[in-house]
Amino acid sequence: MFAEQLINGITLGSIYAIVALGYTLVFGVLDIINMAHGEIFMFGAFVGMLIATKAQAPLWSAFLGAIAVTGAMGYLLERFALRPLRGRPGASHLASLISTIGVSILLENVAHKIFGAGNQLFETPFAEIRFDVGPVTVYLVQVLILAISILLMAGLSLWLYRTRAGKALRATAENLETAGLLGVDTTRIITATVVIASAMGGVAGVLVGMAFNYINNQIGLSMGLKGLAIIIFGGMGSVSGAMAGGLILGLSETFVVAYGSSGYRDAIAFIAIIVVLLIKPQGLFGQAAPEAQR
C-alpha cells in the first residue's frame, strides 16, 4: 500500500534525520566526526527501554531519562576524549577520529556487558493503537514519532537561528579562533554542542525503540553508519542537509524493501553517497569547501 509505505518511510526518515543532526552539529563546530555518536544513541535506547518497559514508567520520563544520560555521556566525551586533543601540536584530525572510535568501542562493550547481546523488548502501552483513515492504517506511535521529530528539528532551528547562543554556535562553527577573539566562550559552546548533539541521539534512541519494539547492542553501529552516510549525502555540517538526507534515506529504504529486495537495504545509504559524491563532492546541500581544507 503506497500511502502506508510513505508514512513508514517518513517515520523512519525523521529518526534518521535526528541521528544525522547529532553528527552534523558536532562536525559543524569541531570539524570532527564523532564516531561514538551511534553508541550514545544506543544508550539512549537502552535507558528508554529500562524506564518505559522495565519500570513501566510513562513515556515522557523515558525521554527525560535518555536525554539526561546521553547528555551526560556527551559531556564526558567532550571533557575526556575531545578537549585534551584540542590545540595540541601534532594532533591531526586522525587523532580525534581514533579517539572517538575508542569511545565507541568502549561504549559498545559496556552495553554488551550490561545488557547482553540479544534483542531486548521495547514495549509501549499504546503500541497497538491505530486509526483507519480511509484505507490507510496509521499507528499512534508513528504520529508521535513524527510529532516529536518535527518539534525537535523546529526547536533546534529556532535555537540555532533566533537566539544568541545559537548565533554563538554558528560563529564558532564558522571560525573557532575568530569567534573566540570576538568574545564567544568557545569552550562552553563546544561543550554545549556535544551535549545537545548527544541528547538528540538519546531522543532518537527512544524513538527507534518505539518504532521497532526491540533494541540490541548492534543498533548503534548500523544507525551510526547510516547517520554518517546521511551527513555526507546532505553535506557536512549542513542542518537542512541532514534533515532532507534523513528523509530521503528513510523513504528510499522503505520503498526498496517494499517493492524490491530487502537484502540490499543496508547498502542503499552508501550506494547513494558514492553516487552523490561523484557528481557533487561536497554533498547535496554542502557549500564548496576551500581546497585547503585537508
Binding site: 566526526i33 601534532g90 529486495s261 537484502g263
Partner: protein, 317 residues
C-alpha cells in the same frame, strides 16, 4: 616429542600478527599520499573471496589463487582510486568505508557465488596442503619431531612471516625510491608537488592500487590460513581495526603499522584473563593514546633516536 612447547594456538595468534601487519601496511601506503581510505576491509574481502572461490570450487593451486586475489583487489583499487581523486579528508574516508559496506552486502546477497551470509568453508589451508604435498614425497611430520597439527601451524606461521617480511622490505625500499618521495611530497603539499612536476594523479591512484593489492593479498592469505571466510570477517569493525593498527602504531613511518599490528593483536590475547573487559580497556587505551601521543607510538624522531643510538654504539666499539 621434542617440540612439545610448540603450541599450535600460539602459532596461530602469531600468524594473525603477520596478516595484521600486512593490513596495517596496506592502509599506510595509501595514507602516505595523504589519502585516508577505509575501504581496505572491502579490498581484503575481494582478495579472500577470489582466492577462496578459485581454489575451493575450481581446484586452482593456492599460490595462483592468492596472486589472482591480490591482483583483483589491486584492479578494484584502481577503479575506486580514480573517482576517489575528487574526494579528500573525511569525505574520502566515509565514501571508502561505504565502498567496503557495499561490497560486504553484495557478498551477503550473491549467494550462488559466495555462499551468502554463511560464507565459504573447507578452503584449502596452506599448512595442511603443504603437509599433504610433502607426505606424497615420502616426508612425515614425525620425522622432524613434530605432531601433524604442530607442523601445519608452523608452516602457516613461516609462510605468513615470509609474506609479511618481504612486503615490508619492499615498501621500506619503496619509501626511499622515486615513488616513495613522490608520495611524501604529495602528502606534505599536493599543490607544491604538482608544481614541482610530480604527476599527482598517477601517484595517488598508484598508492590506492598498492594499498588495495596489499589488503587483497592479506585477505587471500587469511582465507588460506583459517580455511573459512564469511562476510562477517570483513565488516566495519575490520575496517576500523585496520585504521587503528596504522594510527596507534604511528602513521608517519611504515614501522608504525608494523608495531601496531603486533601490539594490538597481542593485547586482546594478553587481556584474555579479564576477557569481559578487554575491549573496554582496548577502547580506553585508544583514547589515552590519542591524548598523550597522537602521532602514534612509532614516529620518525623515535626511529632516528633508536638508529642514532645503534650507530653510536657501533662507533664506540
Amino acid at each position: 616429542m621434542p617440540f612439545d612447547w610448540l603450541n599450535p594456538y600460539h602459532l596461530q595468534v602469531a600468524s594473525f600478527i603477520f596478516i595484521n601487519i600486512l593490513l596495517g601496511a596496506s592502509i599506510y601506503v595509501t595514507l602516505s599520499t595523504g589519502q585516508l581510505s577505509l575501504g581496505n576491509a572491502g579490498f581484503m574481502s575481494i582478495g579472500a573471496y577470489a582466492s577462496a572461490i578459485l581454489t575451493t570450487r575450481h581446484g586452482i593451486p593456492i599460490p595462483i589463487g592468492v596472486l589472482t586475489g591480490a591482483l583483483l583487489a589491486g584492479i578494484s583499487g584502481v577503479l575506486v582510486g580514480i573517482p576517489a581523486l575528487r574526494l579528500r579528508g573525511v569525505y574520502l574516508a566515509i565514501a571508502t568505508l561505504g565502498f567496503g559496506e557495499v561490497i560486504r552486502v553484495v557478498f551477503v546477497n550473491w549467494e550462488s557465488l559466495t555462499g551468502g551470509a554463511v560464507g565459504i568453508a573447507a578452503i584449502p589451508q596452506m599448512g595442511r596442503e603443504t603437509l599433504a604435498a610433502l607426505e606424497k614425497a615420502g616426508f612425515s611430520a614425525a620425522s622432524v619431531g613434530l605432531r601433524n597439527n604442530q607442523f601445519i601451524s608452523l608452516t602457516v606461521f613461516l609462510l605468513l612471516f615470509a609474506a609479511a617480511l618481504l612486503s615490508i622490505l619492499f615498501f621500506l625500499r619503496l619509501s626511499s625510491s622515486r615513488i616513495g618521495r613522490a608520495y611524501a611530497a604529495i602528502r606534505m603539499d599536493e599543490a607544491a608537488a604538482e608544481a614541482a612536476g610530480i604527476d599527482t594523479t598517477y601517484y595517488k591512484v598508484l598508492a590506492f592500487c598498492q594499498g588495495a593489492l596489499l589488503s587483497g593479498f592479506a585477505g587471500a592469505l587469511f582465507a588460506h590460513a583459517t580455511s573459512y571466510i564469511s562476510p562477517a570477517d570483513f565488516t566495519y569493525h575490520r575496517a576500523v581495526e585496520i585504521l587503528v593498527f596504522a594510527v596507534f602504531g604511528g602513521s608517519e613511518h611504515l614501522l608504525g603499522p608494523v608495531f601496531g599490528g603486533i601490539f594490538l593483536t597481542l593485547l586482546p590475547e594478553a587481556l584474555r584473563f579479564i576477557s569481559d573487559y578487554r575491549y573496554i580497556i582496548y577502547g580506553a587505551l585508544l583514547v589515552a593514546m590519542m591524548i598523550y601521543r597522537p602521532q602514534g607510538v612509532i614516529d620518525p624522531p623515535l626511529i632516528r633516536r633508536l638508529a642514532g643510538r645503534r650507530a653510536a654504539e657501533g662507533a664506540g666499539r
